[in-house]
């Protein structure tokens, strides 16, 4: 019943079952890891791993139809990750709203004794490095760019926190991720409505993804800090 073209090598066809087993085993290991870990941010990252296992199983089919299935699968996975991180952001915002001082207290010092460093470079350099990272991220654009730009945001937040200044980045991150959603969806829609503007829609989607990944990496940094403080 299933039509396999004669020019497909035998090795490719025999690779199907191992690929499915690999996907299921990866999913099983990832769920085991989720059962062991208790920190929320680790669970979120490990859940992404289960999503990757899903891509394994779907792409093992290896036909045109399966290729058409991988893209929606990826998009769904991405959208779910974004929705969950959005939930986390909202929850953190509520927590800060209820107790504004919770964001500022319980900082752990790097040095064993009270120690003051009064140097110009300690206040200016982190901002500069953060700016360079964000700029470089925008230049790269897309997923890696988002990661670099997110690293810049985290550096900025941590350096502000280290100086004892209030960190109120969450509001900004939530706003930016909203814009990113719109850019991404408009870019995606334009692909279907007007395929001749594919360069524009590609750039829209890439910029949206950049902002989105940046905000997600920023969120990971902020939550990591909270987890470290919890210890």
């Amino acid at each position: 019943m299933v039509f396999i073209p004669p020019f497909v090598p035998e090795t490719f066809i025999t690779m199907y079952m191992p690929a499915i087993y690999a996907g299921l085993i990866v999913g099983f290991i990832a769920t085991m890891a989720i059962a062991m870990k208790r920190e929320e941010i680790h669970i979120l990252i490990l859940t992404d791993l289960v999503g990757l296992a899903m891509i394994f199983v779907v792409s093992a089919v290896g036909t045109d139809l399966a290729e058409a299935l991988i893209l929606p699968g990826l998009v769904v996975e991405l959208a779910e990750t974004l929705a969950i991180s959005e939930i986390l952001i909202t929850r953190e915002m509520r927590k800060i709203e209820q107790d504004p001082r919770a964001n500022l207290t319980k900082s752990s010092s790097m040095f064993p004794q009270a120690f003051s460093l009064d140097m110009e470079i300690m206040t200016t350099a982190p901002n500069f490095i953060a700016l360079v990272l964000i700029g470089y991220g925008i230049f790269l654009t897309g997923f890696t760019g988002g990661a670099v730009a997110g690293g810049g945001i985290v550096l900025h937040a941590i350096s502000k926190k280290a100086r004892g200044l209030p960190v109120l980045l969450l509001d900004g991150i939530a706003g930016v991720s909203g814009i990113a959603w719109c850019l991404w969806i408009i870019g995606f829609l334009l692909f279907f409505v007007a395929p001749q503007y594919w360069v524009l829609s590609l750039f829209l989607a890439a910029c949206g993804l950049l902002l989105k990944v940046a905000s997600k990496v920023g969120l990971i940094g902020l939550l990591m800090r909270e987890d470290i403080d919890k210890e």
Binding site: M1, V2, F3, Y16, I20, G23, L24, G27, T31, I34, E40, I43, L44, T47, D48, V50, G51, A53, M54, V57, V58, A60, V61, T63, L65, A66, L69, P72, G73, V76, E77, A79, E80, T81, A83, I84, E86, I87, L88, T90, R91, R94, K95, Q98
Partner: protein, 224 residues
């Protein structure tokens, strides 16, 4: 099993290229009910509701929701209703899984702006379960595709089920259970209802209920 045996007389088919939508009284009824409920949601006014007083506390703390949040919630509920209506009428296995995943995302979205941290906590946990269950859901559909070569339900219902198809269908069932948050996974979803806004919150419940009914039909079509 033939879909005529399951859903009554075939009222007609809508061929859209490779995907053939079939219309029978069973599908049409589910579709119409969901669309009607969605229309009810769309016309309901987002007036401020005061509900969900905290239990087990002496102070009678009431939870208020402002109108802006209600508007957003109504918008997402309408989309959720349309997505689950699409899952009722679709004639394609993979479209069904996609609608299913979309409903899962929208369920999280409806409660995403809620102020209670307990509701957000349970929404987070439900989201994690939904994400993990996308592996069996999409994996099962792709295994069925690999072993039969088609995703059209009209073609699948005529085929004899091989062991691989049965395995794929079982995986899909696990995925559907997790994604709609029923049976073993309801612990995470039940807490999501503890927030004011009756007509909009109910769609979370209703969509998963209807999708389970439709999933039973689809699994029967594939297996017999």
């Amino acid at each position: 099993m033939d879909f005529v045996t399951l859903g009554g007389n075939l009222l007609g088919t809508i061929p859209l290229g490779d995907i053939v939508l079939y219309v029978n009284p069973f599908n049409l009824f589910l579709f119409a009910v969901l669309l009607g409920f969605t229309a009810l949601i769309a016309v309901s006014k987002p007036e401020t509701q005061v509900e969900a007083a905290k239990f087990n506390t002496l102070d009678n703390a009431q939870v208020k929701v402002d109108e802006k949040e209600f508007r957003q919630r109504r918008f997402l509920s309408v989309i959720c209703g349309i997505a689950s209506a699409g899952a009722m009428i679709t004639g394609d296995l993979f479209n069904f899984t996609l609608f299913m995943a979309l409903v899962g995302i929208l369920n999280i979205g409806i409660v995403s702006a809620v102020k209670q941290t307990s509701v957000l906590n349970s929404a987070f946990n439900y989201g994690l379960i939904a994400m993990m269950c996308s592996l069996p859901l999409f994996g099962g559909a792709s295994i069925i595709l690999a072993s039969t070569g088609t995703l059209s339900l009209a073609v699948l219902s005529q085929m004899h089920a091989s062991p691989m198809v049965v395995f794929g269908a079982i995986l899909m069932l696990i995925g559907i259970l997790g994604e709609s948050g029923v049976a073993p996974f309801f612990a995470s979803k039940a807490e999501m209802f503890r927030t004011p806004g009756s007509p909009f919150i109910v769609i979370i419940h209703l969509s998963s209920l209807f999708i389970i009914v439709r999933a039973v039909e689809i699994l029967l079509l594939v297996l017999w």
